[in-house]
Symmetry: C2
Subunit: 339 residues, 2 copies
């Protein structure tokens, strides 16, 4: 019960293996009578070509590797869908790997993908330093960094504007009449944490609002920290009338805190979050958020990768920055706003 090989097909169809190969790969130049015979043999044996063998001689696998840091964060699946769909169109197969935010696992995965000879790699790294990409770069395997930058190598990159998004969010709050605006920012040593804070400050500056230190809270991008920062904000003598949370988990934590302490969303306090939440519409009142086009991010990433994989010369590296979009729902304007 050995798997049938091209040879078995050849013998059954009474042709050479080369002919079978030509039929399988639709290269044409085969008498239709012969082709028919071959096709029949293929069916009869339920022959499935061995991609490993093919890849060995062709020196390409038509496979790309995708490494994401957290498959349980709802953004990444969206990103992956975008990549996969685009890849499928061009006949590429996607191997998805999850590093779990662990640089060690990420390095291993890179090794394994390299061993498996992927034609290209799309990565949202767990370690922006990027030295783990050394072997990839060395072998001149096309890479594109998505959503997070690689610092020490020059690679194609596609990001969503953090500064821009935070700026828009904050401006929206300002335009709704808020002046006492708080931010729950992320760790300032991370790029997104830092950049989103920059956008926040920029908007305030532009509208001549002063940055009130009391209104600047720093979380760690996790739910619990959003929860705690919100409570602290509430305890202030003069609490803010609006909060900008720097990521989805902290928004969630903030929401929990609001509910718990009875700080009424949309009446006593406005809220805008960075990154959408699947239940944002369901919150009462529906939550306004900065939404990142993850799917398009994925599409763009693959397109970039594809360009690299198919061009011979060394293309100059590109950096794309997509614009986030603000989804205005109802959590920012207060029913009875303090002016």
């Amino acid at each position: 019960m050995r798997k049938p090989t091209i040879k078995d097909v050849a013998i059954l169809a009474n042709v050479s293996t080369a002919t079978v190969s030509r039929v399988v790969n639709r290269q044409g130049g085969i008498k239709s009578k012969t082709e028919e015979r071959v096709q029949k043999a293929i069916e009869q044996l339920s022959y499935i070509p061995n991609a490993l063998a093919r890849s060995m001689v062709r020196k390409q696998t038509n496979t790309i590797g995708v490494i994401i840091p957290d498959i349980n964060n709802p953004f990444f699946p969206l990103l992956v869908s975008g990549i996969e769909q685009q890849a499928r169109k061009k006949g590429y197969f996607t191997i998805l790997c999850n590093s779990n935010e662990s640089p060690e696992i990420e390095s291993e995965l890179i090794q394994v993908l390299l061993e498996r000879s992927v034609d290209g790699l799309i990565i949202t790294t767990a370690d922006e330093g990027g030295y783990q990409l050394q072997p990839v770069i060395e072998r001149m395997i096309p890479v594109v960094a998505v959503d997070r930058q690689i610092k020490n190598f020059e690679v194609d990159t596609v990001l969503v504007g953090n500064v821009d998004g935070a700026y828009q969010a904050t401006r929206h709050l300002i335009l709704q009449g808020h002046t006492k605006i708080a931010i729950i920012r992320g760790p300032q040593k991370t790029t997104p944490g830092y950049e989103r804070f920059v956008g926040f400050q920029r908007a305030l500056a532009e509208y001549n609002l002063e940055l009130d230190e009391r209104y600047v809270m720093e979380g760690d991008f996790r739910e619990q920290s959003g929860y705690e920062c919100t409570k602290k904000l509430f305890k202030l003598n003069e609490p803010p009338t609006a909060i900008f949370t720097s990521n989805n988990l902290m928004t969630l934590g903030c929401l929990k805190a609001l509910t718990e302490i009875g700080w009424i969303l949309g009446e006593q306090v406005g809220l805008i979050g960075f990154d959408d939440l699947d239940f944002a519409e369901f919150v009462n009142p529906p939550l306004t958020v900065v939404s990142r086009p993850m799917r398009q991010l994925g599409e763009a990433a693959f397109d970039l990768l594809y360009a690299q994989m198919t061009s011979q010369e060394d293309r100059p590296k590109r950096h794309y920055v997509l614009s986030p979009e603000i989804k205005i729902r109802q959590s920012c304007s207060l029913k009875s706003p303090k002016q």
Copy 2:
């Protein structure tokens, strides 16, 4: 700038390729002096073994394929994490594929995975008939079906008890004092839709409650249907005091409807949903749900697969059914329940 091969290493270390192979594969029986030389050559060239070539000879890839129907449904990533983690422990690499609930894509994916010679397949199928698995079965590639059964072939299967979960949910409602209990069930021709209804009926019967036809609504597992069914329930002359929704999306729809029509959760109506929601705790009052241990499901699936992959004989096929767990929060007891 060709990729270095085992031959390059052999030449540089002044040994045969066989020796290099032995070193790479840690087979021992090499003089440590020699081994050192080889290791140095490997580093110097940054040699990475070619898994394709190895797999060709060994006739195994140490790779398993995983096909899930919807990467954007939060359950599946959890399932995948379970599989991956377990696989990693045993030295297997996971290729994750997303069929998008399309039987056609699923068939293609199976073909592609077969071409790539995966050692085993774990699948949550988009087509319970299962004929698409024919080629897999034929080649005696180990398969395990997870979360959804395969009808026309006998394969290892691991599921979560639908009847059991629905039964527990309903019983919980009954024990909270509810007698007028509605169900928003799924399509009765789908296994989960049907089984969850069975569990519902069983609980009623056991507590001598009659099934009131007016309280049986049928949705299609999508949000909108949960929304609509809830509204219908509300319009009844004698609305139920509790609702059991048969899946997460319909729970979400139900929740939206409740909010919209002002049917107050936890006061006027109790709710228990099948499947957890990431924001269930955040709902006011927090939502009680039937939760499926997706992660364990994944672990069990891989264990089963592993057993098949490593045993020589044809093992009898197994069916595991894991128990769901009911996460009691606060949406089922009414503050002022009508008795």
